[in-house]
């Protein structure tokens, strides 16, 4: 009796505090997700009222769609670069801005600012920068690398995307690293100084190991944002020139809504979900092992 009552009480407490959120999560995330998986087995085009089951045919076309895989590889390359650059830059910004530089609050706010601008607007601002401002500068100053628009060359357009993404997220990750730095116990650092540890040794042996939780969060966030990039992609390069910078999310969207093959698009989205889930879970699993106690 008592056991049952305890369970009921627990459920009541749970419902009281988390009920509404659970309900919303279920209706706007879980249900659409399951319905989406259901749609991957149909040939729905996005509007029509009739559609039929096609089994695993959509998944077969995912694996035979060369553009899906080339977009995926491109996205991997993009994710690799942005994860490295964002985290290295954010870490050193945080390191500098916790070391007592003059006006460090002002700089913190300044570096965080790009993150307050939405991806679409940011893309349009930088599009103007790359195709007008930089070209104008390149032409008047005679710098050849800048005299044609970066966005009209596949390779340069890719780097344009990386640069803007790094610029956008470094400040955000910096804030997380700053809080990591603040949480390192001062007494340990002081003890290390008394023992004669230099700045670099302190960084390597004390700061980095204690900052692992911040790294886990930041790498996870930048991984996930990198894989899911869409807004910046569409507004900065539009996937161009000639679809050479089309990231995976944009490809999936175009498949579903522009090519009007909703089933195939949805299957591609699901395959993407599985791969991103695997990558991020592995990352969290392995980096958890690096955590240490102070």
């Amino acid at each position: 009796m008592e056991g049952k009552r305890g369970t009921w009480d627990k459920i009541k407490t749970y419902l009281m505090f988390a009920g509404p959120t659970t309900f919303i999560f279920f209706t706007v995330v879980i249900l659409p997700f399951l319905f989406g998986i259901y749609l991957t087995f149909t040939n729905w085009d996005g509007v029509s009222e009739e559609y039929s089951f096609v089994g695993f045919q959509n998944y077969a076309s995912v694996f035979s769609d060369p553009k899906f895989w080339s977009s995926f590889l491109l996205t991997l390359k993009y994710v690799l670069f942005i994860v490295i650059f964002i985290n290295v830059i954010a870490f050193f910004l945080a390191y500098l801005l916790t070391s007592g530089v003059k006006g460090q609050n002002f700089f913190r706010a300044g570096f965080f600012l790009p993150n307050l601008i939405g991806g679409i607007i940011l893309g349009f601002i930088w599009q103007f920068m790359f195709s007008n401002v930089l070209v104008y500068m390149g032409k008047t100053l005679g710098i050849k690398a800048l005299s044609t628009s970066w966005l009209s060359n596949p390779n340069e357009a890719f780097w344009a995307l990386v640069i803007v993404t790094v610029w956008q997220y470094s400040g955000y990750m910096m804030v997380i690293y700053i809080s990591g730095f603040m949480n390192i116990p001062k007494d340990i650092l002081e003890a290390a100084s008394i023992d004669g540890a230099s700045g670099f040794v302190k960084l390597k042996n004390i700061i980095l190991p204690l900052m692992v939780p911040s790294f886990i969060i930041c790498v996870f966030l930048s991984l996930q944002r990198g894989f899911m990039v869409y807004d910046l992609n569409i507004s900065l390069t539009g996937g161009g020139p000639y679809k050479s910078t089309q990231m995976i999310s944009m490809h999936v969207y175009e498949k579903a809504f522009l090519s009007q093959q909703y089933g195939v698009g949805q299957s591609e989205a699901f395959v993407l979900f599985i791969m991103v889930a695997i990558v991020t879970l592995l990352q969290v699993y392995f980096s958890k092992k690096l955590e240490v106690e102070a």
Binding site: V47, S48, S152, Y242
Partner: protein, 409 residues
Amino acid sequence: MKDDSKKEGNNVKISLLNSKGEIQAQLEESAKVFTEDTGIELEIIPCPAGQSPFEKASSMYASGNAPALLMIDTGDIIKFKDKLLDLSDEEWVDDAMEGALDDYKMDDGRMVGFPFAVEGFSFIYNKQVLDKAVGGEFDPSSIKTRNDLEDLFKKIEESGVAPLVISPMDWSLAGHFLPISYITQSTDPDVMEKTAQALKEGTLDLKKNPQFNGLMETFDLMKEYNIDKEDPLSGTYDRGPELLGSGEVGIWFMGNWAWPQIAEFDTAEEQYGFIPVPISDNPDDYGNSQIPVAVTKPLVLDKEQNSEEQQEAAKKFLEWLGYEDNGQDALVNNMHIIPGFKNVTLEPQDPLAKSIKNYMDEGKTLRAPTILPPDHWSQVGASMQKYLSDEIDRAGLAKEIESYWKTVE
């Protein structure tokens, strides 16, 4: 304030999805006039740049918020057919131009589209620049072959102006330019359907096709005289009307929908017109003296998510456009549309529409393709951009186009 009491209760509100972004402001103005005339409130919803009307319309349907009137592309009608209202008993059906409604007839006998606009595309020229280049009055009918075109380009260049600008948007290159090679395959009225069929089956070898090769040779010529030759993919749509209107180039490949933008920069006293895109050196070849023209952007009515009252109001808007003085005025003089109706006697005021009307009166038109596969402009457009920037050669382009068509269902 003063009219609130009178209209309260019977104020019908409808909306229209507009996929012609260039006339958004004009449509909004016309909607106000329509409201004054009829008391029906009409809201114009723009289709965002870069999004196809199909994407916007399907997301509006999915959210249960479909507009009463949708301006979509002809090829999309079939996808929405279950949701569209039958218009075959409307008065304007008998006044539509011949053949204008053919694409809007469904298998079940319904006719669902209102032919909103007649549009055409080809080389637009700035007459002032060309007059100066040829030293006298420029005659558009003097350009019948690729050689004529090259001579013209040379003359423009000698007069100190860049001959032309190629706007590198995928929708222009693959939605308008490349299809010229599809529709010049024969003089058969069903040429587009037959070419599409042959491409899907892989029986049309583009590498050996005279029309495709001819058109691409013309394109090579254009590339050579392009003002943006150094960085051919950097241009945007807005650059075209600015260069042409201000007389910095003599020629721009685009359609009559660009008039409002050209007019903003106009320095040539509104003297513009179309020249055909020649695809060979034989003046008698089909396509060398014709320009592609078609009825585009049909208005269709929703019957699922709008009340009967709203459907009636939407029908009223179509009648207003077709028969009321204010409606015709809005269509022709404000939005610069060439109406798809015989009964509208208002003459188009803008030079591009006039030029198209001339070609139509002389029977020198090609049937511009209105039913290309939905992602043709985007996928093949990327291939055209590669060719434009010398990323691939003509054989590579032919291969990419052919392999695209094989994926079309």
